[in-house]
Subunit: 326 residues, 2 copies
């Protein structure tokens, strides 16, 4: 049997056909057209899934279920997207709508950060672990929690696991959520870009040269990579900035480890592309700071390994009996 | 049928006989004698339990199981206290030892903060909720987490839920765990006492009068109550101090709500004795700050209601099929 995982993003719809070991046999994608009516988007999702079935010469009966990963607040039990900022879904019955266009027996839906964490736990950085926390460093800071092989996304409602919206610096930098000092305001790619720009502005005013300016010219803009690149070339201002950045990230990561004691905590999202330059100093800090002193019981910190496929794979795993929510 | 809950504390052993609705029918206690060999302490626990059975004219067959709540790191599956600072247990097989002195069919053990949270969820402040977080403000800041009616205490090892050891002020006040700026360093009774003493020292140096000094004389010392009492009498320095204290506590509480979205978050421990003076401003802050905007889905913040009985009741509930860990 196969399963189909659909990663509905703000820019693209990516659909993958997975085997029972969650290997992607084939995948296909198309622009989301996020400003369209949600029903049109879902219709395209179903058309892409059918195309994938056809071109792999299998039949609908060979597909056990379809899983959908979407941004926003999701109620997986009801099959409803409660709220989605980019794709303009509000209390939208995505499962029911999808089945109108593709009558498979079972369709599941989950928040994309949660699905990605499940994918990482099953076949990514956490392969073989039934407990994993994934922190995604992108536009914001996302979180996904897997406990006992299942997604945990909050008790009263399913918009929990907002790991980016935990304050690590009371009274600190303004966060989009209204509070000050959230992890997201220090550790997202957006925050790192802003902090780099602030530093460059300060250096410019003082007339201090720095490789940060060279990197900016080379890239054509300031990004989350600018300071990492300048630091790798030995710039002292960039190095201090990256050390601070990793220090704040370590506070958030250590907090989550002290709360959850997962087997593995993986870092995904754009900034995780820095690989060892990010993870080595991060793991050093976290290993020193975490509450558990027993080295055999410490949480491993690693880079997420599934990259852009995490959403597809996590979605394709949503119907696994062992990973399904109660 | 009855169950017996034993709350093993650093000072006293408290044993309660509970009915199936978790009402305490009778309880008994004796000094722990914490410096003795652990086996002697367990022998006394069994003797107290037997005394309770005898004086209630029931037989051992009427007792479904015994539950033990103990401080320290516990492995409930193995029935072992891995480490306990005050009672000097180290990898101590408490369940096996207890059954040597009282051969009941089933004996369970849990960390006391976890047991208390289970008690609060079942019959205390969370009566009827299957998700609850309890934060205990005492010598330290303890945490207990109940998800789906079961205790969650970490995945890799069972020393998770260290909610007090999450940094809310990066680089802030020194914590006993080695990090700086943990919730415990701002919100424990010990921290509040220290912060009050620091403020009084500052006022004294400047020769500024304050009701804090009157309260100190009345109590004979500075405690976590001093500033609350002076604030209630209108002292502006005490009021500002309490506002700050509740502000920091609110950061930690809101963080936990954004992660777990529990139905209820209850505050226990000595400082919770301040009741409405603590909870009203705390709930106001938390309600404003939490990520969920939907008022129907917001977490309720409340004072724990079982007081010193939470440990006994939680221990007496450990064998409930629905609350037992996998």
């Amino acid at each position: 049997m196969y399963t189909i995982g659909i990663d509905l993003g703000g820019t693209n719809i990516a659909v993958g056909l997975c085997d029972e070991s969650l290997n992607i046999k084939d995948k296909i994608s198309a622009p989301t057209g996020a400003s369209r009516a949600p029903e049109m988007i879902v219709k395209d999702m179903a058309a892409l899934a059918k195309k994938l079935i056809d071109r792999n010469h299998i039949s609908g009966d060979d597909v056990a279920y379809v899983g959908i990963a979407t941004p926003g607040t999701v109620d997986p039990r009801a099959g409803v997207v409660e709220y989605n900022n980019n794709i303009r879904m509000k209390n939208f019955p995505i499962v029911e709508t999808f089945r109108k266009y593709m009558p498979v027996p079972k369709v599941y839906v989950e928040n994309d950060a949660n699905a990605a964490a499940l994918g990482e736990a099953l076949v990514g950085s956490g392969r073989g672990s039934d407990s994993l926390i994934m922190i995604t460093l992108g536009t914001g800071v996302g979180g996904g929690i897997v406990i006992d092989g299942r997604i945990f996304s909050g008790s009263v409602n399913t918009s929990g696991a907002e790991l980016g919206h935990t304050v690590i610096v009371a009274g600190g930098r303004q966060c989009t959520c209204g509070r000050r000092g959230c992890l997201e305001a220090y550790a997202s790619a957006t925050a790192l870009t802003a902090i780099t720009e602030e530093k460059m502005h300060e250096l410019e005013l003082k007339g201090i040269p720095s490789l940060l300016f060279e990197e900016q010219s080379r890239e054509g803009r300031v990004s989350a990579r600018t300071a990492f690149n300048a630091a790798a070339r030995g710039d002292k201002y960039a190095s201090a900035l990256i050390e601070d950045y990793i220090g704040y990230l370590a506070e958030g990561v250590t907090n989550m480890i002290n709360i959850f004691q997962p087997k593995i905590l993986c870092i995904g999202g754009g900034v995780s592309g820095e690989g060892e330059n990010l993870i080595r100093p991060l793991e050093e800090r976290v290993s020193r700071d975490q509450y558990t002193r027993d080295s055999k019981k410490k949480t491993k910190v690693a880079v997420a390994t599934l990259g852009n496929d995490a959403g597809i794979i996590g979605a394709a795993a949503l119907g696994n009996t062992s990973s399904r929510q109660k």
